[in-house]
Point group: none
Chain length 200, copies 2
DNA sequence: AATGTTACCACCCATAAGTGTGGATGTCAA
DNA sequence: TTGACATCCACACTTATGGGTGGTAACATT
């Protein structure tokens, strides 16, 4: 297991294909499917590639099992988070990489997560704008201070959950709107775990 | 495809097993693995189950392909975007699904995309807060009105690119800060294509 | 000059795995 | 009581699939 082993461009292509297949279709490719993808006429070629990927610690394969390819290194397709950007682009200064944006945790979260398109500007103050997407984790309870999604008579709203005295309120982050008391008309759906805005 | 078809208890067990295997190990089981799991001595039994699950719309199988069992309904790479949320949770009303949040382009984006941790509150007005992550597509030119990342003497800032008269400015979205004229000290790095905020 | 790595090939083989045939038994509703 | 359906079986067949052997060629490193 060569730790510092880097992949060649072609090996990276093969790995990318396998990675994508596993993540997207949940069905790892067979050696022949890989061969077809890249135009290899021999399965032996693919075996060589798989062997290289195993050696370099990117995948694991089980002997004599069809499609038994596991991804070991996940980092490759994560997006580096830069804490600071320096001159000397376009190469990233590795030292500046603060971590990796793990989109897997967003994309491959369980089925209790969904995205909701935001309507209205009642949460402007929290940086949640109309047409933003909020990722919602479905749960029946939430803590005060969290941003939650609640149903008010079949209407979904995104608000802060706050407590005043003994009563709970759904509070907007825009002073133009009024807090809404939590009563039997209000059904908590879940809490907002992420905000995503796509521009352009 | 019988839509209202409900699963029997045993069929549910088989489905659960397949579901778990796909979710957990990323490797769908073979018919013989399913047989082994439930103690069936014939692969034909498994075929009957798979057939039932297909008929009832729970899975999809490809002919003559090993392990080619797909779970229907859930696209793991996409998160459903709900335009409206209705009562009757926890099942999602399919009719309300507005589309799918496609993070594929992010996960497999080329190396010219990176994430930048935002510092300071100069873009509060645009819903970009401190500690937010902005996804940046590296490019040397941008259009006015776009949110860009620029280097000002080795310091990275996120600002609007605006034009006033014949001059370009980097404009904050917070009136407490002053616009910065674009001159030779300013290097455009790229434009912001997405804003991501993780809560909790 | 020797060695190692990468990047391919053809060909073959054993077995893993999906599918087909033809049953058997039991349940439940028409 | 007929028929549809669910739940099993044995056994055979076909195809899919991983792996082996033994090459060739280019290229960089030692």
């Amino acid at each position: 297991m060569n730790k510092s082993a880097q992949l060649t461009d072609k090996q990276k292509d093969v790995f990318k294909f396998i990675y994508k297949r596993i993540k997207q279709s949940q069905l790892p490719p067979t050696v022949r499917e890989i061969a077809a993808q890249f135009g290899f006429s021999s399965t032996g070629t693919v075996r060589d590639y798989l062997h290289a990927l195993v050696e370099k610690g990117y995948i694991r394969v089980s002997a004599n099992k069809s499609r038994a390819i596991e991804i070991i290194k996940e980092n490759l397709f994560q997006i580096p988070i830069l804490g600071r950007v320096q001159a000397g682009l376009p190469t990233l200064a590795v030292e500046e990489i603060e971590g990796y944006l793990d989109l897997d945790s967003l994309v491959f979260s369980d089925s209790n997560t969904f995205a909701l398109r935001v309507r209205g500007d009642s949460m402007n103050g929290a940086g949640i704008f109309p047409d933003d997407l909020v990722l919602v984790k479905r749960q029946a309870v939430a803590q005060t201070g969290e941003i939650v999604v609640a149903l008010i008579r079949d209407e979904a709203t995104v608000k802060y959950l706050r407590k005043r005295g003994r009563h709970y309120f759904l509070e907007p982050a825009n002073p133009q709107y009024e807090p809404i008391p939590v009563n039997e008309d209000v059904v908590l759906i879940g809490k907002v775990i992420s905000v995503i805005r796509k521009l352009n």
